[in-house]
Symmetry: C2
Subunit: 211 residues, 2 copies
């Protein structure tokens, strides 16, 4: 948790605003939003349905009045991580920065969703460790590789098989499945709605959402 060390000085002069000599805390920002902030960290192969389900889940949460934000390739790779490539170091730094940004959103009181392959257990665990106990919810989108390759929505598997993309997760780079994910989805036999309903139910059962 981020602790602010700089406390504003106490000023005794009377004005028309109410004065409080403290900084706004994570707890207060969460109370304003009437919710328990957390990171919903989606992980799985390219084409597993991470972004699709995360977008649909955000939509469902929004309609229930929750304050959310979704970090994905669209707003991260062209922004804070635009100076990163796909080397081993850059991939680790990519996840590290995403984790740190997600932590800031949790500190702001938001339910933040992230949708990245994030294939390495070590990198995901690193994010789990920088936030408080219970703030990291790992959502394993456990769609089998052959199903993802059949879908191939962006034609990336075809390119990887042809050798045009190197180090592609599942083809010539490993995917380390979560050992104890909080939530596991199987989009090869679940509709998007079923996946969303399952997550909402599990988050409610775990006390993240109002019953």
């Amino acid at each position: 948790m981020t602790q602010k060390t700089a406390e504003p000085e106490v000023v005794t002069k009377a004005t028309n605003i109410t004065w409080h000599d403290h900084t706004v805390s994570k707890r207060e920002r969460s109370e304003l939003k009437q919710q328990r902030p957390c990171i919903l960290w989606f992980t799985g192969f390219s084409g597993s349905g991470k972004s699709t389900v995360a977008n649909a889940l955000e939509s469902a949460l929004y309609r229930q009045g929750y304050h959310t934000y979704l970090l994905d390739a669209d707003n991260i790779r062209h922004g804070v991580n635009k100076n990163l490539g796909f080397s081993a170091e850059d991939r680790e730094e990519n996840i590290r920065r995403i984790g740190e940004v997600a932590k800031l959103f949790v500190d702001s009181g938001v339910i933040v969703l992230t949708a990245f392959i994030s294939p390495y257990r070590r990198d995901r665990d690193m994010v789990r460790e920088i936030v408080e106990e219970g703030e990291f919810v790992e959502v394993f989108v456990n769609t089998p590789l052959d199903v993802c390759e059949d879908r191939d929505p962006k034609g990336l598997y075809k390119k990887a098989r042809a050798g045009q993309i190197k180090g592609f997760t599942g083809i010539d780079d490993p995917y380390e499945a979560p050992e104890k994910p909080e939530i596991t989805l199987h989009t090869e036999r679940q509709s998007i709605e079923e996946s969303v309903t399952q997550i909402l139910d599990e988050l409610t059962a775990r006390g993240y959402l109002k019953a």
Copy 2:
């Protein structure tokens, strides 16, 4: 503005959740918070009062029900920017990442405050350019250098004068004052409360806050 390109597929199967085949937009997130998101970018010398006023302003905004977040050295330098030093390149990258993170918070519908010296005009203007028109509000904390050096709350000026810190803004590194800041403060003759009241008044006049 970040545009989400991945639209979830339309699923026709009936379930107990309302289905909408769209992603949640900045506009919707802002409407939920009933506010107009922006970056309040504080800039000025070390000791000018940036953090103090920004914290007090956040507190005042919170008490009025606004959804805010403050980016400062405490949560940035130990987090997303912890692998950056103080070389010219790293300083530029520091502000670049802060700007990109602030942009994400604006996209999430939040009023985000930043408190960094950010001495170079080019870096601040870079941030202004990556967000939409009117989303960047430059708050120039125009406290004279000699007042800041007299305050020297962290003893940094003393160290810089003694040559123990190199490249210190105002001592042996330049501060480029904003040419057209939206708001200018003079903490050498304003109390913290007066500064906060001035900002609240100017933000209201400019339509960022409810009258």
